[in-house]
């Protein structure tokens, strides 16, 4: 693959060395996760075109390697905090396609039974502690979860995923500082897809690398990696998690990636140069990874089987979600409070 011009030479060397260390089972898992996310995100788009997905949705097509790489590096009891672009991370942690698609479609089978929607996917059972739709808000929350893990001595790590746009909001800086001062077991993962919504991040940011170039301000290592290479992402995530787990404090990793679609369903992304999009499509993480596995000797049949199984699983989930009832209107009145109700007076 062509490395991004933004990638440092040392990072490339680092990744090449690490690729050889990843066991095949893990690499097949990385492939499977990326394929499942790719298929499921495409399906979400189709369902939106069929008017079965309402509201908005922010697809992560093109950013699958980040989700796969991090999820594969996590322990089951680690915490994931996502943004409104969080389908990929939720799926990568193991939330069923049925529950994710069901939530997008506002069905009873949805992860939150229609109460949260696409931007708030949450599956505590899978360590997904919420998807947050106010840019940057979840970074301090992840720091808090990390503090709790540190306090309880559980060796859990919290991970916050966020876009490049979040690096210019105060919560990003407050979270990094607090995490560094309290030496918290938290990993901050910036998915730099080059655009904060519709505007190039470079047009509104004082430094070239919106996350990594700020790392030094908080005494953290500057890390810029190829976010379209699942092996690179996995290796970097694994190291950051190991550091956090052993009491070494937080890490900040900037993953260079690109979203294949617009910011949200309403955005055709006409602001992006055609050549730029084409260049990144050539570096599609799923294709890249498939070719690498083939080159490393994995049989075509093995990969095709993973793909057909993912598609079968997705088709089944889609049909089941379509068949799932809509939530009862009364459920809009539940779970404001821990007692399950909404009473604010007697």
């Amino acid at each position: 693959m062509e490395a991004s011009p933004n990638m440092s030479v040392t990072q490339k060397a680092h990744s090449a060395q690490r690729n050889q260390e990843i066991p095949e089972a893990t690499r097949l898992r990385l492939f499977k996760l990326q394929v499942e996310i790719r298929y499921c995100e495409k399906r979400a788009y189709d369902l939106f075109l069929q008017n079965l997905v309402k509201g908005t949705s922010h697809l992560a097509l093109g950013q699958e390697a980040v989700a796969a790489g991090f999820a594969a590096a996590m322990n089951p009891d680690d915490y994931t905090f996502c943004t409104y672009r969080g389908h990929h991370h939720t799926l990568a942690r193991g939330a069923p396609m049925l529950s994710v698609l069901g939530e997008l479609m506002g069905r009873q089978c949805g992860l939150m039974k229609g109460k949260g929607g696409s931007m708030h996917l949450t599956s505590v059972a899978h360590g997904v502690m919420g998807s947050y739709a106010i840019v940057g808000a979840h970074l301090p929350i992840a720091a808090g979860a990390a503090w709790s893990a540190q306090y309880r001595g559980t060796k859990q790590v919290a991970c916050a995923f966020f876009g490049d746009g979040a690096t210019n909001i105060g919560a990003f800086h407050e979270a990094l500082n607090l995490a560094a001062v309290w030496k918290l077991p938290v990993v901050f993962c910036c998915e730099n897809n080059m655009y904060m919504e519709y505007t190039p991040i470079s047009a509104v940011t004082a430094v070239k690398h919106p996350a990594a170039d700020r790392a030094a301000s908080y005494g953290l290592e500057r890390q810029v990696i190829d976010g379209n290479d699942a092996d690179v992402v996995y290796s970097a995530a694994r190291d950051a998690f190991a550091k956090a787990r052993s009491g070494g404090g937080p890490s900040l990793i900037e993953c260079l990636t690109y979203r294949h679609s617009g910011h949200s369903r309403a955005d055709p992304a006409k602001y992006r140069p055609k050549e730029e999009l084409e260049e990144w499509l050539k570096r599609d993480p799923v294709t890249l990874y498939r070719n690498r596995l083939l080159a490393s000797g994995v049989a075509e049949g093995t990969l095709a089987k993973i793909e057909s199984e993912a598609m079968a699983k997705l088709d089944q989930a889609t049909e089941a979600a379509k068949a799932s009832p809509t939530p009862a209107p009364e459920s809009a009145m539940t779970d404001v409070w821990a007692d399950g109700g909404n009473a604010w007076r007697n």
């Binding site: 503090w147 919560a171 404001v336």
Partner: protein, 327 residues
């Protein structure tokens, strides 16, 4: 019964819960080593140590975000926002994150946390350090709102707030901090959602909160000297609201006054007045009168601040005027 100041009662409430529950942690700006800028957390750092009592940077987003992340993963954080005015800096966490995450997650996430903050006028700090913002909080579904008026309640309601499984915004009133009062010995917990009837009188019902409660009581004494007997209710919790007690005590006199430190528009008394007129209209003998800070930012000079925040004299005057109009 021990005599405690309101500020010492706050610390006593936190200490009681920290002793009882290892999950309770306390943090904020100057909260630990300095004992709080209002001295409401004195001794806790020494007693419970740096692991459980922590100083934070001036980072209101990080404070409330950390409280939220800790609460959803098994701790019972007590976070301090130094002045309630600063809640505006981190209102996203109150209004969008903490209050809504339980609901949005369909009950998967529970947030047992307390946000303590110094609220209200009386210190002549001007418009950015003196506000009463309890009405901001009660406008948000998903957060409980508590504002004690006495040392006993400062301890007991704070203990209940820490034990509560839902997020609570706990307003400690700056002008009450030095007030002393009886606080029950031993474990003291006051349930949330119960108003307290402080005195009863057949002529009028005055409904007050926090620093307005002692003023309402003094006004009641002055009115009694003139033969006007009033009931005084300390609302104590805006959410959950003890509407039953408020309705019953309002219906008994038919003349209702709210005394609110918050600025006029959408103050908490407006909701209470709305409830009373909807549910006890036939027992009213006259309009419900809201005695509030007018709709202005708070000025700094003592004469100016005193001119806008409801005073004993203003309460007495408003009650007399309204009752004489009706007579």
């Amino acid at each position: 019964m021990a005599q405690l100041s309101y500020r010492d009662a706050v610390a006593a409430g936190i200490a009681q819960e920290m002793k009882r529950d290892e999950r309770v942690v306390l943090f904020g700006e100057d909260t630990a080593a300095a004992g709080g800028v209002f001295k409401t957390t004195v001794g806790l750092f020494e007693e419970f140590g740096p692991r459980r009592v922590k100083d934070t940077p001036i980072s209101e987003l990080a404070i409330l975000g950390a409280a939220m992340g800790a609460a959803m993963t098994g701790l019972r954080p007590v976070a301090e926002i130094m002045f309630s005015d600063f809640l505006a800096c981190c209102w996203d966490y109150v209004a969008n994150e903490i209050a809504k995450t339980r609901y949005m997650s369909d009950g998967q996430i529970t947030l047992p946390l307390v946000i303590r903050t110094a609220n209200g006028a009386g210190s002549r700090f001007g418009a950015q350090h003196s506000q009463s913002v309890e009405n901001w909080a009660m406008a948000i579904p998903g957060i409980k709102v508590v504002a004690p008026s006495s040392p006993a309640d400062a301890k007991g309601l704070l203990a209940a707030a820490i034990r509560d499984p839902d997020p609570v915004l706990f307003f400690e009133h700056k002008s009450l901090l030095a007030n002393k009062g009886e606080v029950p010995d031993g474990e003291h917990v006051e349930p949330l959602g119960k108003a307290r009837v402080l005195r009863t009188g057949a002529d009028a019902t005055i409904i007050a909160l926090a620093a307005m409660v002692p003023r309402a009581e003094k006004a009641a004494e002055a009115l009694a000297a003139d033969g006007i007997k009033v009931t005084v209710i300390d609302v104590r919790c805006l959410v959950p609201l003890d509407a039953k007690t408020i309705l019953a005590e309002s219906a008994r006199t038919g003349r209702v006054f709210t005394v609110e430190e918050n600025p006029r528009l959408c103050g908490w008394g407006a909701e209470i007045a709305s409830i009373i007129q909807e549910e006890a209209f036939s027992s009213l003998k006259g309009p419900i009168i809201r005695i509030t800070t007018p709709h202005v930012p708070l000025p700094s000079a003592d004469q100016l601040e005193d001119a806008v925040v409801p005073t004993v004299a203003r309460i007495v005057g408003e009650v007399k005027r309204a009752l004489s109009r009706a007579a």
